[in-house]
Amino acid sequence: MSRLTLLTSLLFIFFFQGVQAQIVSEDEEIERQLLASTKQLNQFFNRFNGEEDTKGRKFEPDDRQYRSERIRKRYLSILFDEENAEFSEDLLKTFIEQVTDKDNPQFLSLRSPEWFAVVNTTFKYKGKEEPLTLYMQIQQEGLGYEWVISDLVFEPYNTLFDKQRGETKEFLHPMSHELDFMNLRKALVKGGSPESYTLADFKPDLLTVFLYEVKMGLLEFQTVNRLNFHFFSIDGWYFQLNNFNRPGYNTGWLISDLAQVNDSQKEALLKIIYDKK
């Protein structure tokens, strides 16, 4: 029996145990699929933590089923993408064992550390629609919490401040001060390379550039195309969540990538996700 068939059977048993064999109408079948789907990230958290029943009703904290290891293990096994993901069953098992460990169970919430959203958007820039990736994080503010932009990747910005070094770069010659820096007039021109006249360790703050251009109306938000979430919240693990919109029982917000990571691997992975050199 393939993993997929096994999981589909498991899901069916999990959500509809006790339902006797009967002819099921199309609408009933759809409702069963919708019930099984992890419909919100909030539901992913609640299932991950074992804080709700199969109908999505929350357990009271004093309910013996609340966060029970048994419930969590059953839920965790259905929170993974079974159609495309390529992680091994051993890895999955190790992960589930760790997060449900009796002595040190680990839970997730909106307020967990070290997780973020990657939001693929479209902006209008210089008359053209351009893709732009926003990195979003939750932070505490005022009386509650808010999502904020922590970083971005925008292709037109990638080379905007590419600064040459060495003999071929543009420069203000070392006696410019004697001429009251009158050569700045030739250096700071539209379409030029003003970044050439900065300190050797100059690093542009692209988020500030982005905010400025939005304020000036030069960058105009068009739409969100898709999003996913990256978690480093569980010690020694990385996983990614994607929304799977497809027929069946293994749908909604599911773990699509899972890896055990040490500190250096985590740094390397973050660089890849944030598209940093």
Binding site: D27, I30, E31, Q33, L34, L35, K39, Q40, N42, Q43, N46, G56, K58, E60, P61, L110, T122, E141, G142, L143, G144, Y145, E146, Q222, T223, V224, N225, R226, N245, R246, P247
Partner: protein, 193 residues
Amino acid sequence: MRSNILKYTLVTLFVVMGSVNALAQNAVDPNREKAIDSLALEKVRDLGKYIRIIGNKETPYSESTRVMDRAEELFAPDSEMGVSSLAREEIEYYKVREYFQRLRALNYDKVTIEWYDIHYISDLERQPDGRYVGVVTIYQKFEGRSGDQLSYKDTTKKDITIYVEKKETQIAGRTIEFWDVILGDIRVSETSI
């Protein structure tokens, strides 16, 4: 409309009466959260009813306009619908009123809109201004017919923002605090089902 006011008042009072402890802590007590969820679901169900009336081709124009007014009252100002389909993943944005007008103007002889008996209510999270926000997810089945032929059919997921706010009212000279629920932006995405 009058029955709606009565219904909301009853549900709201239920939320008020059990909210003394919650108000003292300025937070939503888990038991009160259930009452707030019920109030939110009431408003969401009313929205569903209004959408069915607006979409129904047999509803007279004046009646659908009146229902649009009622439906708009469920929402916070500037609320929008963000709509995407399987064919087009980019989200298109409409003001709530514009969305209703587009629904009314759909070019079918008969429109059937039903909601599946599945919903999911998120936890309530506090935002910086002190109000609470949550999301109610429901699923809608749409069928458009031209003559006897089924022209278009889809199932959409609707993720509906709900804002929960503490308000005050005067009853018989006494100031009573209560939790009120108002709808916000709605994300509408076509499902593969």
